[in-house]
C-alpha cells in the first residue's frame, strides 16, 4: 500500500496580518505590502537615467515595450468586460493615423496632436465598434480581427492619407527625456489607474458583464453603455500608444495596422496573466526585449510568439503574474491523503 500525497496551499501568516487586519506592526510587513508595488515603479523611473550605462538602443527598446505594454493593458481592460479582441492594431492605427494627419496636413505641434489623436482615435474606434458591442466571444473576436485589415485595404484602395506610402517627415518629439519618460509614465498611470478602476463599483459592473451579462441586465443596468465606455477607456490607452509612436518614428503608414500590434499585446497578456493588469505589463516587459534580442530572426519571431501563445494557453493558463503572486502569498506542502 503506497502512501499518496496531495499538495496543500496555505496563506502565509504575513499575508493574513497585512491584508486582513490593516494594522501594520513592523517594517517587514510594510515592505511585504510595498515592495511588489514600489520596486517596479522605481526600476522603471530610474532606467531612463541610466542612459549612459545601458546605451541608447535599450532606451529605445524601453519605449517600444511601453507602447506594447499600453496595448496589452487596453486588451486586458476590454477582456475584463468580456470583449476579447484579436485586433488591438485597430486602436494603435487609429491613433497613429489621426495624429499623423493632424501633424502632416494641419501642421499642429505634437503637444496638440498627441492628445487629439489619442482621444479622437479612441472615439473613432468606439463608434466603429458600437454596432457590434452586442456580439459575444468568437463573433466579437472575428470583427476585431477584420477591422484593422478592412481599414488597411480601404486606405490602400482609396489612396487617402498617403495610401501605400503613408505619411512621413512628421515633426519629431522635443527632447529625449520627453521621448522616454512620457511612455513610461503613461504605462504607470494606466496600470495603476486600471487596477483602481476595476476594484471600484464601476469595475465590479464591468466584471459582472463579463461573468454573466444577463444577470447584470436584469439589474436594470444598460450593459452596452458600460461596454462602450470600457472600449473607450481601453481605446485611449491603445490610441495613445499609436499617437506617441507616430511622432517617435516620425512616420505613419500601413504597418500601424499590422498584425504585430494585434498578436504581440495578446501574447503579452496571455503570457503575463489575464485579468490583473500587472500581468500584461509584466508580459510586455519580458516579451518585447526578448523579441528585440531575436530581431536577427526576422519573421521567425512571429512564429516564436505563436509558440509561446499556444504553450501558455494550454500549459500555463493562469499566466506568469498569477503564478508569482501565488508563490508570494502562499506556501505549499505535501499532505498525506488518508
Amino acid at each position: 500500500m503506497t502512501v499518496r500525497y496531495r499538495k496543500e496551499r496555505l496563506d502565509r501568516g504575513i499575508k493574513a496580518r497585512c491584508e486582513d487586519m490593516f494594522a501594520l506592526s513592523s517594517y517587514r510587513e510594510m515592505l511585504y505590502l510595498l515592495l511588489p508595488r514600489v520596486l517596479p515603479v522605481v526600476a522603471l523611473l530610474t532606467f531612463p537615467l541610466l542612459k549612459g550605462v545601458v546605451g541608447l538602443y535599450w532606451e529605445k527598446v524601453l519605449v517600444i515595450t511601453c507602447a506594447i505594454g499600453l496595448l496589452a493593458l487596453s486588451w486586458d481592460l476590454m477582456a475584463s468586460v468580456g470583449l476579447v479582441s484579436l485586433g488591438q492594431a485597430l486602436f494603435f492605427g487609429a491613433g497613429a493615423y489621426l495624429t499623423g494627419f493632424l501633424n502632416n496636413s494641419l501642421g499642429w505641434p505634437c503637444f496638440l496632436t498627441i492628445p487629439c489623436g489619442t482621444v479622437g482615435g479612441a472615439l473613432f474606434c468606439t463608434f466603429l465598434l458600437l454596432p457590434v458591442l452586442r456580439l459575444r466571444g468568437v463573433y466579437f473576436a472575428i470583427v476585431t480581427l477584420t477591422l484593422p485589415l478592412l481599414l488597411t485595404r480601404f486606405i490602400e484602395a482609396s489612396k487617402i492619407l498617403g495610401g501605400n506610402q503613408g505619411l512621413s517627415a512628421l515633426s519629431p518629439l522635443p527632447n529625449i527625456w520627453f521621448e522616454i519618460y512620457v511612455p513610461v509614465l503613461a504605462v504607470l498611470v494606466c496600470l495603476f489607474g486600471f487596477r483602481r478602476l476595476i476594484n471600484e463599483d464601476y469595475g465590479l459592473v464591468l466584471q459582472g458583464i463579463r461573468d454573466n451579462d444577463l444577470a447584470v441586465m436584469s439589474g436594470a443596468i444598460n450593459i452596452y453603455k458600460f461596454k462602450a465606455q470600457a472600449v473607450f477607456i481601453g481605446g485611449v490607452a491603445g490610441a495613445f500608444a499609436g499617437a506617441f509612436m507616430t511622432h517617435y518614428y516620425q512616420f505613419v503608414g500601413m504597418p500601424a495596422f499590422a498584425l504585430d500590434y494585434s498578436i504581440l499585446p495578446l501574447t503579452c497578456a496571455v503570457l503575463g496573466g489575464v485579468g490583473a493588469f500587472a500581468g500584461p505589463t509584466l508580459g510586455a516587459f519580458i516579451l518585447v526585449p526578448l523579441s528585440e534580442a531575436l530581431r536577427a530572426f526576422g519573421t521567425l519571431r512571429v512564429v516564436f510568439y505563436s509558440a509561446i501563445l499556444i504553450i501558455c494557453i494550454v500549459g500555463l493558463p493562469e499566466g506568469i503574474f498569477h503564478y508569482i503572486q501565488r508563490k508570494y502569498h502562499q506556501f505549499e506542502r505535501m499532505v498525506e491523503v488518508g
Binding site: 452586442r134 466571444g137 468568437v138 463573433y139 473576436a141 470583427v143 477584420t146 498584425l259 498578436i263 501563445l309
Partner: protein, 290 residues
C-alpha cells in the same frame, strides 16, 4: 460584359463556397472556429508542390496523399491542443489563431514566396462559354464544388459518422447520452474541415501563384461567407457565396481589383451588426451571439 460578369461571377462564387465549406463544417459541428484554416489551406498547397517536386509523385497520387495528411493534421490539432482547452472560447480562438499565424509566418521565413511556387492545372486548355473564354481548371473547380456539396449532403444524411455529426451539432448532451462520443466527433469534424481546405487549395491554387498573404485572405473569405450565410447552414453558404462572389466581380469591374477584399470585410461587419445570425442561421442566435 454581362455574360463575362455572369460566368466569372459564378466561378468566383464556387471558389468562395469551396473555401468556406470546410471552416463552416467544423464550426457547425464542434463549435470550434478554426482560425488556422488559412494556414492549413496554404500548407496543402506547399505539400502538394513538395510531393510533386521532391518525391516525384504523379498528380493523381499527390492529391490524395495531401488530403489525407492535412486531414490527419486537423485531427491532431484537436487531439493535442484543443482538447485541453475545450469549452473556453477565448482559449480555443487564441490557440487556433496562434497556430495559423505561426504556420504562415514560418512559411514566410522559409522563403516560400517566389514565383516558382505554382501548382499544375489538372488539364490545360480552355473553351468558350456564352462567348467568354474559360479555362478547364475553372470548370473543374465548378465541378468539384458541386461534387463536394453533394458528397457532404449524402455523407451527413446517409452514414453513421454523418449522423453523429448532425447529432452533436443539434444537441450535444442528448447526443452524448445516446452514446456518441463528443470529443471523437469534434476531432473528426476538424479533420474533415481541414481535408476540405486541402481539396479547395489543390483545385484553386493552380489559378495563381501561392503567396503567404493568401493564407490570411482565405481565412477572411471563409469567415465572411460563413458569417453572411449563417455559420452552420450549407444552403446559407451557397447563397452567401453567390452574393459575395457576384458583388466582388462587379466591384472589380467597375471600381478596381483593390476594392475586392473590402467587399468581404464590409460584409462581415455589416451582417454582424445588423443580423448577427446570418441570412440563414436560425438556432444558436440567442445564447451565443447576442
Amino acid at each position: 460584359m454581362i455574360s463575362s460578369i455572369l460566368v466569372y461571377g459564378l466561378v468566383n462564387s464556387v471558389i468562395l463556397a469551396l473555401i468556406a465549406i470546410g471552416f463552416s463544417l467544423t464550426f457547425g459541428i464542434s463549435g470550434v472556429a478554426n482560425f488556422a484554416y488559412g494556414a492549413l489551406y496554404l500548407l496543402s498547397g506547399y505539400l502538394t508542390w513538395m510531393l510533386l517536386k521532391y518525391a516525384g509523385l504523379p498528380l493523381a497520387l499527390a492529391v490524395p496523399t495531401t488530403i489525407a495528411i492535412v486531414g490527419l493534421l486537423g485531427f491532431l490539432i484537436y487531439w493535442i491542443i484543443l482538447l485541453r482547452v475545450r469549452g473556453i472560447v477565448l482559449s480555443e480562438v487564441i490557440a487556433t489563431f496562434a497556430l495559423g499565424v505561426g504556420m504562415l509566418e514560418f512559411f514566410r521565413w522559409k522563403g516560400f514566396v517566389t514565383y516558382e511556387f505554382t501548382l499544375p492545372y489538372f488539364k490545360k486548355g480552355m473553351m468558350l462559354i456564352a462567348g467568354v473564354p474559360v479555362d478547364y481548371q475553372r470548370l473543374f473547380i465548378i465541378g468539384i464544388g458541386l461534387a463536394l456539396v453533394l458528397f457532404l449532403y449524402f455523407f451527413t444524411h446517409h452514414t453513421r459518422i454523418g449522423w453523429s455529426f448532425r447529432g452533436i451539432a443539434q444537441n450535444e448532451r442528448t447526443a452524448i447520452s445516446l452514446g456518441i462520443e463528443s470529443d471523437w466527433t469534434a476531432a473528426l469534424s476538424l479533420a474533415f474541415g481541414s481535408a476540405m481546405a486541402a481539396v479547395a487549395a489543390i483545385s484553386i491554387l493552380p489559378l495563381g501563384i501561392i503567396s503567404i498573404n493568401m493564407g490570411y485572405d482565405v481565412l477572411l473569405i471563409a469567415v465572411a461567407v460563413g458569417i453572411v450565410g449563417g455559420l452552420e447552414s450549407v444552403p446559407g453558404i451557397l447563397v452567401a457565396s453567390l452574393i459575395l462572389g457576384y458583388a466582388q466581380i462587379i466591384t472589380s469591374m467597375y471600381l478596381s481589383a483593390e476594392w475586392m477584399m473590402v467587399v468581404y470585410l464590409a460584409a462581415i461587419v455589416l451582417v454582424l451588426a445588423i443580423k448577427p445570425s446570418g441570412l440563414f442561421g436560425k438556432f444558436k442566435e440567442l445564447e451565443e451571439r447576442v
